[in-house]
């Protein structure tokens, strides 16, 4: 299986990447290649030019400044999953990245590539939505930030403009009495998420829910934030969480021979509850 022929340009900086894209409007960025190369081999995409951003130093690295984690778009799933900074500040994201594919995929696939690709069955997107993260995008005219819950517009479609690059993801670090978790039901063959549930729970001093956020991936065309206002002021326990999730709605649920829309929504309720309770348990610990 050979991709259709293309030209290859390797760039060393964001400025060079944007200039190369301006010069080749039919070009595509290549990060780890673990979504793009499979698509090229199947000839689902035939870009004329690949602009390899994989070695751009300024897109790498994971740091924490104050209470914000800054994850360069080229951070691999493995780097995110094994980063002490991410494990401490955004455990749900480390768990989501640890559940991507297999070890070899995590060595090459990047967070930025995963988000730009916007596969509805991806793991990191719901984690970033639940964590209240935002994406930093850059074009030749300037920078802008888009909240993770605004970034995904439809299956494989995002708010990224054709002249932009994702430079980083900023995630608020979890504060006191806050726990988070990401749980996944993988497709038995592909390993992608049939349903992924990402939760962040903050408790007050008395163990009642001060805030709770849940996002579900894999079920709808984009990750969906679930309204959990009903839980605020409540001690999170199974009956209450089940009640809050009893009639969640996810627009245009996906459906295939392995998992019908109904089944996916059931999974969302069950995994959503488990993720919420695990996050609450971690908020106490």
């Amino acid at each position: 299986m050979y991709p259709a022929p293309f030209s290859y340009v390797r760039v060393a900086s964001v400025a060079e990447a944007l200039a190369a894209l301006a010069e080749h409007p039919d070009g595509r960025f290549l990060a780890g290649g673990h979504s793009l190369l499979p698509a090229l081999k199947l000839r689902l995409a035939e870009p004329a030019v690949l602009i390899d951003i994989g070695r751009v130093a300024e897109l790498q690295g994971i740091t924490q400044v104050g209470s914000t984690l800054r994850i360069g778009s080229l951070a691999t799933h493995d780097q995110v999953a094994s980063s002490d900074t991410v494990c401490a500040g955004a455990r749900l994201l480390a768990e989501a990245c640890a559940k991507v594919g297999d070890a070899a995929v995590r060595n090459w696939g990047t967070l930025g590539g995963n988000l730009a690709h916007a596969d509805p069955a991806s793991d990191p997107p719901p984690a970033l939505v639940a964590a209240g993260a935002r994406l930093e995008l850059q074009s030749s005219v300037g920078q802008r930030w888009v909240a993770a819950d605004q970034f995904f517009s439809d299956l494989f479609l995002t708010a990224l403009a054709s002249d932009e690059i994702i430079t980083a993801v900023e995630v608020p670090a979890a504060g006191a009495r806050t726990g988070s978790a990401y749980l996944k039901h993988p497709h038995p063959a592909s390993g992608y998420a049939v349903c992924g549930a990402a939760a962040v729970v903050t408790l007050d001093g008395a163990g009642r829910c001060e805030s709770a956020r849940l996002a579900i991936g894999g079920v709808g065309p984009v990750p969906v934030a679930i309204d959990l206002a009903a839980l605020s002021g409540e001690v999170p326990e199974q009956a209450g969480v089940d009640a809050a999730l009893a009639d969640i709605e996810i627009a245009d649920p996906l459906s295939d021979p392995y998992a019908s829309a109904d089944y996916r929504i059931r999974l969302a309720r069950v995994l959503g509850r488990r993720a919420m309770l695990l996050a609450a348990q971690r908020a106490v610990a």
Binding site: Y2, F6, D102, A104, V105
Partner: protein, 159 residues
């Protein structure tokens, strides 16, 4: 004439400079340009792991990387593991524990196990199975492979 680029890749400690078409996958570069046919092509769709090699020490599915992405990097294939005629402990133990049947998955499995042990010198069963998740074997049923990786971990620790 298709466009070509010149890349330089160190494979098993030997540096190779070759002109390749940009679309050349690392697995085809290794097998067809360098004649290193120990790395296999199973699915060619990133799923089976038969093509697994190490790139700068990291387990990599060579069917899912452009040769150009390996430019300037160091690649280890199954041909580069034995030292002075002695098999690597992972190879040795797969043999002893009958973790090889048809052998098609084996070269990729070995490299994935080497990378796993590099990171986790005394892994649990669960860590071995998780570490080898991207490598499919249609013959052995995996149990003997897991045993072999445990034995290789012990052999490496005793070195």
């Amino acid at each position: 004439m298709p466009e070509s680029i010149t890349i330089s890749v160190t494979v098993n400690s030997r540096r190779y400079e070759r002109a390749v078409e940009p679309r050349t996958l690392l697995i085809h570069f290794l097998r067809d340009a360098l004649g290193l046919t120990g790395s296999h092509v199973g699915c060619e769709t990133s799923l089976c792991g038969a093509c697994t090699v190490l790139v700068d020490g990291a387990a990599t599915k060579a069917c899912t990387l452009l040769a150009a992405q390996a430019d300037g990097r160091a690649v280890t294939t199954i041909e580069g593991l034995a030292q002075d005629g002695a098999l690597h402990p992972v190879q040795e133990q797969l043999w002893h524990h009958h973790g090889v049947q048809c052998g098609y998955c084996t070269s990729g499995m070995v490299l994935a196990a080497v990378a796993l042990l590099e990171r986790e010198p005394s892994p649990t069963d669960a860590q071995i199975r998780a570490g080898l998740k991207g490598n499919l074997c249609r013959c052995t049923g995996y149990a003997n492979i897991v045993d072999a990786v445990h034995a290789a971990a012990a052999a490496l620790a005793a070195r």
